[in-house]
């Protein structure tokens, strides 16, 4: 209870600091001194400090199962394991908003202390814009989503956290994701400040690149963690469903990737200045828009938090204030007088980056339109339609082939004006890739033309980036990241065509023979854990090559709240995953068994890590260059 009081008043203090900061910062703008007043840095630190205190208080309340706190009551339970009590803090609407505030205040503090070599007014303006966002979130929290609401009489027991959310990947997914997602706020604030100061140039690009990289790296890993959770926990063998909440995290990633590439251009030449600003604004706008879609109840999804239209209206208005503000600043202050008069030469690195952006924006439009269209249609004509995976696949997949080809040229071409060296080598690689692809694809019953082209082009990128590793003059970060991307597409394609699955009903003691082997249902074991009972099925699967897999899928019956979940048993090896899910069949001693063999799954995760790793290499290089 004390923790709740402390937490609540810390939030109030944090908000007060926002106003003080805004006051001091505005004064600083007109002060003649060249250095930022020490007070501002101290105030920024104090604001961060109190948000941290508030956050720790909430964690404390969760750990102690303090049910006088309404949020704890709604989302926790005494029988929850400690690790999940802690992660339960941010696994709900109010707690996750507190996490938003934490990242917002952390980033602005880090920005202020790490940007000493930047123009003073620019830094102050960034702080001001960020504070506007921070004030918005403080108000949102305190007015509609207080994590420290008091419950009386104090209940004895909480309503429990959804057991599907009790998973290690899901526990760390929000903090990591938010560092990326919310981190784009600093890019937003900084770009608006830079526009006002007419500071959109190479120097600014070099400086903002670090922040873009940080946001992008964490967002990539955060999204990956979410997919890993979906794959291991939800038991359907998939890892991406084009669900609105998934799409909402993907969209800022697309703009950030495009932005990252544009920054590379801006670092060297005065080109794409307007576009860089637009992308910077867009990234955070999409994050805010995503927050709106997910928390307001306007969309129906597996992932949505508790729905509340009142909260929705608040975020909607806040979102549009930010949009109109940034639009206004852009149109009033932006000018391109200093633009590099030399235009693009068609065969150059700049061009391939333009092409990258072209495709990225296309992919973004597909995801954005697919996610938002049902809302628009529903409001205008009261017709409800679904936009699911087939839509996204049909519109995105065909464009991957040319995109991959452009990636090959992107790394080969030089800045400003270039020619393609080793043309012959590239042609050879391309031909080999297509041939290998054809030979592989024709063994499977899939669309031969489409898959040959797709696998062929990803192999093409794969080979060219592999060879690049041996080039002494390579750009390591680019090679690693592009290599990772080729591996990513390749793994998904190969997984798609080589995966197989068997579904049947079995009872204990039965043997089921399928194409590739035999499934033997050995026995049922019953277990009791701290907050659930489980029925474990023991299966032995022998395939035609003599490999034996022992798999133990579970059915868990949780007691608070009463939910039955099916836990797949997944054996992951370097080459493939064996995946077994068991479900009851109504009124029967039979169990419904779904057995899948999914090759290359591990490589999908590894490739995303590689892509992020490429970003990290770039980040370290930028740091060292100072």
């Amino acid at each position: 209870m004390l923790a709740s009081q402390l937490g609540y008043y810390s939030l109030i203090l944090g908000l007060i600091f926002s106003f003080i900061l805004i006051f001091f910062a505005t004064k600083e703008l007109t002060s003649p001194s060249k250095r930022v007043d020490q007070n501002i840095i101290i105030l920024s630190f104090l604001q961060l400090f109190f948000v941290v205190v508030s956050f720790l208080c909430l964690i404390f309340s969760f750990v102690n199962s303090d049910f006088s706190n309404e949020t704890v009551f709604n989302n926790s339970h005494t029988a929850k394991p400690l690790f999940y009590k802690i992660s339960g803090t941010w696994g709900n609407h109010e707690g996750s908003l507190l996490l938003w505030l934490l990242v917002l205040t952390l980033f602005i503090f880090l920005f202020i202390i790490k940007s000493n070599n930047q123009p003073k007014k620019y830094r102050i303006l960034t702080l001001l814009f960020q504070q506007i966002i921070i004030v918005g979130f403080f108000l949102f929290l305190l007015v509609t989503s207080n994590p420290f609401n008091y419950l009386f009489p104090v209940p004895n027991e909480g309503l429990g956290l959804n057991p599907i959310l009790q998973d290690p990947a899901l526990a760390i997914h929000p903090p990591i994701l938010y560092l990326g997602y919310v981190g784009s706020s600093i890019i937003f604030s900084a770009s608006l400040a830079a526009v006002i100061q007419n500071y959109i140039n190479s120097e600014w690009a070099k400086h903002i690149k670090k922040w873009v990289l940080i946001s992008w790296i964490f967002l990539s890993i955060g999204i990956m963690l979410g997919s890993i959770w979906a794959y291991y926990e939800l038991g359907w063998g998939g890892f991406w469903f084009w669900d609105p909440v998934e799409n909402v995290s993907l969209m800022p990633w697309l703009t950030l990737t495009a932005l990252l590439h544009c920054i590379l251009v801006l670092e060297r030449r005065l080109l794409l200045m307007s576009w860089v600003v637009i992308l910077s604004i867009a990234s955070f706008t999409l994050s805010m828009c995503g927050t709106f879609l997910v928390r307001s109840g306007i969309l129906n999804s597996v992932h949505t938090f508790a729905n509340d239209p009142a909260r929705g209206i608040f975020i909607l208005i806040f979102l549009f204030i930010l949009i109109f503000l940034s639009l206004g600043i852009f149109f009033v202050f932006h000018n391109e007088k200093n633009k590099d008069s030399k235009n693009f030469f068609w065969l150059s690195k700049e061009t391939t980056i333009l092409l990258n952006n072209w495709f990225m924006m296309y992919f973004l439009s597909v995801v954005l339109i697919g996610t938002l269209y049902p809302i628009f249609l529903d409001v205008i004509s009261s017709d409800k339609i679904s936009v699911g995976p087939p839509f996204y696949h049909k519109l995105i997949v065909p464009f991957l082939a040319p995109f991959l080809i452009f990636m090959v040229f992107g790394s080969k071409l030089k800045w400003i004006k270039s020619e393609i060296s080793n043309k012959n080598l590239l042609i050879i690689f391309f031909t080999i890739s297509i041939i290998i692809s054809f030979l592989v694809t024709k063994n499977f019953q899939v669309d031969l033309f489409l898959y040959t082209i797709l696998i062929g082009t990803s192999l093409f990128l794969f080979f060219t980036t592999t060879v690049e590793f041996f080039n002494k003059k390579k750009i390591l970060s680019q090679t690693v990241a592009h290599f990772g991307f080729s591996l990513f597409v390749l793994s998904i394609l190969l997984n798609n065509i080589t995966s197989s699955e068997v579904t049947t009903n079995m009872k204990v003691g039965e043997r089921y023979k399928y194409d590739e082997g035999v499934i033997f249902f050995q026995k049922i074991e019953e277990k009791k854990e701290s907050n659930f009972n489980s029925i474990v099925g023991h299966f032995k699967i022998t395939n035609n090559r003599g490999d034996i897999f022992s798999l133990k899928p579970e059915l868990r019956i949780y007691n608070q709240p009463i939910i039955v979940t099916s836990e797949a048993d997944i054996k992951t090896t370097l080459l493939k995953d064996n995946f077994l899910v068991m479900n009851t069949v109504k009124g029967n001693e039979y169990f419904n068994i779904r057995y899948q063999v999914k090759p290359f799954m591990l490589w999908i995760w590894i490739s995303v890590l590689l892509i992020s790793f490429g970003g990290m290499i770039s980040f370290l290089r930028v740091k060292n260059e100072k």
Partner: protein, 119 residues
């Protein structure tokens, strides 16, 4: 450059026309089930769901396939009774022209802008 663009468009066109990106499920059955929304679940296909409703739909689809009904006819049957919402892939009709065509239009628009910039 122009030739390149035309070549690109050709590949895209053919790919989209062929875009049967779902691996030819050994079962047409599975492909259809994956495209039907489980109406009593929160964002799962009938294929992935074990609910009462889903098991009935699975039975229905099996029956219809045995009767020789096509994929389109099965979707039509379900759409008549449950609305467009029940099928994951939005049909190309009066309601959805913008949905399908707008991204492609934006793509062409982007291409036009870039070609202008490169002149």
């Amino acid at each position: 450059m122009k030739i390149f663009k035309i070549f690109l468009l050709m590949i895209l066109f053919i790919n989209i026309a062929n875009a049967n990106t779902d691996i030819k499920d050994k079962n047409l059955n599975n492909k259809i089930l994956k495209n039907i929304r489980c109406l009593v679940c929160q964002g799962q296909s009938v294929y992935d769901s074990e609910s009462e409703f889903s098991s009935t739909i699975k039975l229905l689809v099996k029956k219809k396939i045995n009767e020789g009904k096509s994929e389109k006819q099965i979707y039509e049957f379900l759409r008549e009774r449950y609305g467009d919402w029940v099928i994951y892939e939005p049909e190309l009709n009066r309601n959805t022209y913008i949905l399908w065509l707008l991204p492609l239009l934006l793509f062409l628009l982007g291409g036009a802008i870039i070609t202008k910039k490169l002149k």
